[in-house]
Amino acid sequence: MAEKQRGRASDRLRSGISRRDFLRGSGALAAATALRTATEAAAAPAGAASVVGPGPVPVTLTVNGQTHRLKLEPRVTLLDALRNHLDLTGAKKVCDRGTCGACTVLLDGAPVYACSVLAIDAQGHKIETVEALSPDHPMIQAFVDHDGLQCGFCTPGFVMAAVAFARQNPECSEEDVCRGLSGNICRCGTYVGIREAVVEAARKMRGAANA
């Protein structure tokens, strides 16, 4: 489910083709996805995309409700913009190519791999990072209560993917969580706690404001 949401969020990006979609299209994942992406990319009006760069260009990002004006090379990913230019380091760089989910942030409420979105393409969208969540957010508390973390490096990405998933699936089962969070990888082996945490937090979030 999270996978689908990520796909939709990417579709809304200005250039119409994200790095992740490109990688998908290059053969790793379902052929249907690749076809759709290729079709949409081809359908993008030729004149709509203006050429920018390769030097730094003005980029305006709306992150956690704040507007940031930056000068970034067009090749800078949303992840690097957040981490290296805004010092928002909750999203982690791990695989750097849309496999592990450690960099998950929300774009207009839907989870995306920030390593696979260009910062220039994230302009005009509402970006939410883990820093937007209060430390007493039900999802964070549930991860702690169920010990769904060890080294913690994958955890903020998991939390963001889980928040987006739980908002849409308040009555989820552990089986649903296994499907919904299949786009994130943990190395320490915290999946048992995460499964329990997301099921519990999803129910709590339903009744909570700002969750």
């Binding site: 290296n84 496999t99 973390l149």
Partner: protein, 736 residues
């Protein structure tokens, strides 16, 4: 005034423990889950430069020419350092050739791309599966051992002989936070390094030699680490280079390895392959003879095979002949990988034992129970085997090998057993009690995600009668008293011992200050539930905060060390563990799924049951990973690693691990053995023992045995990927 040392350091009795052994949330959980925790990768310093490496694309090559001029010409590139210059022989894909340091990460990448290198490609060895085909020069003897008389044993008509071959490939640590460092000079000979390390107290000394400045002038910081698993003990080439170039350019330098570089260069677990011949007594069903040839590669330097772990655990088999070889191959160099040598030992031994049980038509559980006296801890294993069998519902699900019905989906059970030391490392701790009632504790230790911070807080809280969240734990900085590196499951025993002693020392000093105001002797006092109470006059007490007002201006400092020859031991070593897997295999597709996995584990006195269980879940999941998915794949033609990325270096996701049951052996446990004997063991009695390694040892063997039980044939080599399962079903299973 009383001389201190009137309080006992011994751990409280079972009924009197407030926090120890309970399920306590990790105290840094919110910081990590909310993204506020700062890892080395997250350190951004003003005016900071980024370093990126050019790595060798060949398995074996000589560098003919390097041209860095175009890289140096890029505006913003500040330094191009040749790491291995013209004429150097490079012996594995991924080794560092040059480092580019630039104003931004992107410019450093541009610099790397602009370097021109001409290589003379040399012959390589990357396939070690067939010992007989490995060139002589790449094969080194790794020892021979002989016990009893193997030939006589195998020749006996009472002995049934079973032969097999087994393999476990090279894998990597794949820490999610790659190796790396930020180096910043704060004076001519004063350096601060943020480094992703398992060895906070040991980095400065290693860097000092390379930088030729006093070790005390180097401050090492690692508040949070994104995985280590044995691969992060030294400053490494990148740590030294970052520091040197930061000094030269007078700007902070950050180097974090890219994912491909990380997987290629920052550590591997050596492979293990074995030809095994077992002799089992026809009547007693006891193993009486073992013969094995073991080999594997630990990379270009060879090494990495340990003759002492085959046979694993069943070391008392009376007749043994074994030999080992180390293969030098052009693959990533080895580093300690969680429980070094043991997963290989289990995967090459427990499989052979299960094959013997199947060949003899004996229930695998009965066979292991029948042979536990060949191990060093028969009573522990008997208890753990029987408890695990209950949890996996052995009696209900067991069937003889291959008798699993006619449909494509078949189920099977498998067993493995393991051991580990887990002795306490050296550690020093300081506990401060301040006049305002606040308490902190300082150790030059690190929390790898095991729960070290939480364990330290629990021990202080238990000792002072406070709550864990009232304790400020300060670790991850070399300015704190030194503690050992976190490797080999040595941390929990080390830090809990030193912390307990420091907290007791601090409490004694507090009692001496408080006693006069209460009109009692210090020895009459106890600390409980946030109060200091008199033992003789139960209604006489004072709150913790009020008691601390008697301290005066300077805080109390309690000191503790491990080992402490003047005190009784609080930690020890030596554990057992039994794991059982219940798998489902699709014989049409070869896909293996875990249905249920049971891990029964002892580890002495448990400080935090919650994080201890997490260690077991984590070990099991890492084990499922190498049993079913993980493998470094090399192209035999070019010698290149084919999967230095996370798309094709496969790790399981949240839906791939099935149901996992972690059962900790706690306190006094009594189990009735098959022969009717009652076995009672007090698992708390030895004190604290480390837990990080043991649970990762057995999954490979347990799952391989379960798959063999399900499909009727052995898949000889891990990981049990669909192609290997189908090959084995077609009678074509081999070590490749």
């Amino acid at each position: 005034m009383l001389k201190a040392d009137f309080l006992k350091t011994a751990w409280p009795e079972p009924g009197k423990r407030i926090w120890i052994g309970k399920e306590v949330n990790r105290i840094d959980g919110v910081a990590k889950a909310s993204g506020r925790a700062k890892y080395t990768y997250d350190i951004n310093r003003p005016n900071m430069l980024w370093g990126k490496f050019l790595i060798c694309p060949h398995a074996h090559a000589r560098i003919k020419r390097i041209d860095t001029s175009q890289a140096e010409a890029i505006p913003g590139v500040r330094k191009v350092e040749i790491v291995q210059g013209e004429g150097s022989e490079i012996v594995f894909h991924g080794d560092e050739i040059a480092l580019v340091v630039a104003d931004s990460e992107e410019l450093a990448v541009d610099g790397v791309r602009a370097i021109k290198v001409e290589y003379e490609v040399l012959d390589h060895v990357v396939d070690e599966t067939n010992l007989d085909q490995i060139p002589r020069g790449n094969r080194r003897p790794g020892g021979r051992r002989r016990t009893g008389n193997v030939d006589e044993a195998f020749a006996s008509p009472e002995v049934v002989t079973i032969e097999g071959q087994y393999g476990i490939p090279m894998i990597t640590h794949c820490c999610l936070e790659s190796h790396g460092v930020v180096a910043e000079w704060t004076g001519d000979d004063e350096l601060t390094v943020w480094i992703s390390t398992q060895n906070v107290s040991g980095i400065s000394g290693q860097l000092a030699n390379a930088l030729k400045i006093p070790a005390g002038n180097i401050r090492t910081i690692c508040h949070f680490i994104g995985g280590g698993f044995g691969s992060k003990f030294g400053p490494d080439r990148w740590g030294i280079l970052a520091a040197k170039i930061a000094r030269e350019l007078n700007r902070p330098v950050k180097i974090m390895l890219d994912r491909d570089h990380e997987l290629l260069s920052a550590g591997t677990r050596p492979s293990g392959f074995a030809r095994v011949k077992l002799g089992v007594d026809r009547k007693t069903k006891k193993v009486v003879a073992w013969e094995s040839t073991l080999w594997g590669t630990g990379g270009p330097g060879g090494g990495g095979t340990s003759i002492s772990v085959t046979p694993y655990i069943f070391t008392r088999i009376p007749n043994q002949r074994r030999e080992a070889y180390n293969v030098r191959a052009n693959v990533g160099p080895r580093r300690a990988w969680r429980a070094p040598n043991h997963p290989q030992g289990a995967a090459l031994t427990m499989t052979a034992l299960a094959d013997a049980a199947a060949a003899l038509g004996v229930d695998e559980l009965q066979f292991f129970l029948n042979n536990v006296d060949l191990t060093d801890r028969p009573d522990v294993y008997t208890q753990e085997l029987l408890i695990a069998a209950d949890l996996i519902e052995w009696r209900k699900h067991w069937h003889p090998r291959g008798e699993s019905g006619s449909g494509p989906l078949v189920e099977g059970l498998g067993i493995s057993m393991h051991t580990w030391g887990g002795r306490p490392h050296n550690s020093q701790a300081l506990v401060h009690i301040y006049p305002d009632g606040s308490v902190d504790v300082q150790l030059g230790s690190q929390d790898l995600g095991t729960g070290t911070r939480t364990v330290i807080a629990i021990v202080v809280a238990e000792t002072l009668g406070l709550k864990p969240e009232q304790i400020t734990v300060q670790i991850g900085d070399s300015r704190y008293p030194p503690s050992g590196a976190s490797g080999g499951s040595t941390t929990v025993g080390g830090v809990s011992s030193s912390t307990r002693r420091a907290a007791v020392d601090a409490l004694e000093q507090l009692f001496e200050k408080v006693a006069p105001s209460l009109g009692v002797e210090p020895t009459d006092l106890v600390a409980r539930n946030g109060r200091i109470l008199s033992k003789s006059k139960p209604d006489l007490s004072v709150s913790w905060k009020r008691a601390c007002r008697t301290i005066g201006m300077e805080p109390i400092t309690g000191q503790g060390r491990q080992p402490d020859p003047e005190d009784q031991p609080l930690a020890s070593q030596g554990v057992g563990g039994v794991q059982m897997a219940h798998v489902v295999v699709d014989k049409d597709t070869g896909v293996v799924r875990i249905k249920r996995f049971v891990a029964v584990q002892d580890c002495g006195l448990i400080i935090d049951l919650k994080t201890a269980k997490s260690q077991v879940y984590g070990g099991v999941i890492m084990g499922i990973a190498y049993a079913l998915y993980e493998e470094c794949v090399h192209d035999p033609i070019t010698g290149r690693r084919l999967n230095p990325n996370m798309e094709f270096y496969k790790l399981p996701g949240i839906g791939d691990v099935g149901e996992i049951i972690a059962h900790m052996m706690v306190g006094k446990v009594t189990v009735t053995a098959p022969d009717g004997r009652k076995i009672t063991i007090d698992y708390d009695e030895p004190g604290v023992i480390g837990l990080g390694e043991p649970p990762v040892i057995s999954p490979g063997a347990a799952i391989s045995n379960a798959v063999a039980n399900a499909i009727g044939v052995r898949v000889p080599r891990l990981p049990l990927t669909p192609d290997r399962v189908l090959a084995a079903l077609a009678g074509k299973g081999g070590l490749a």
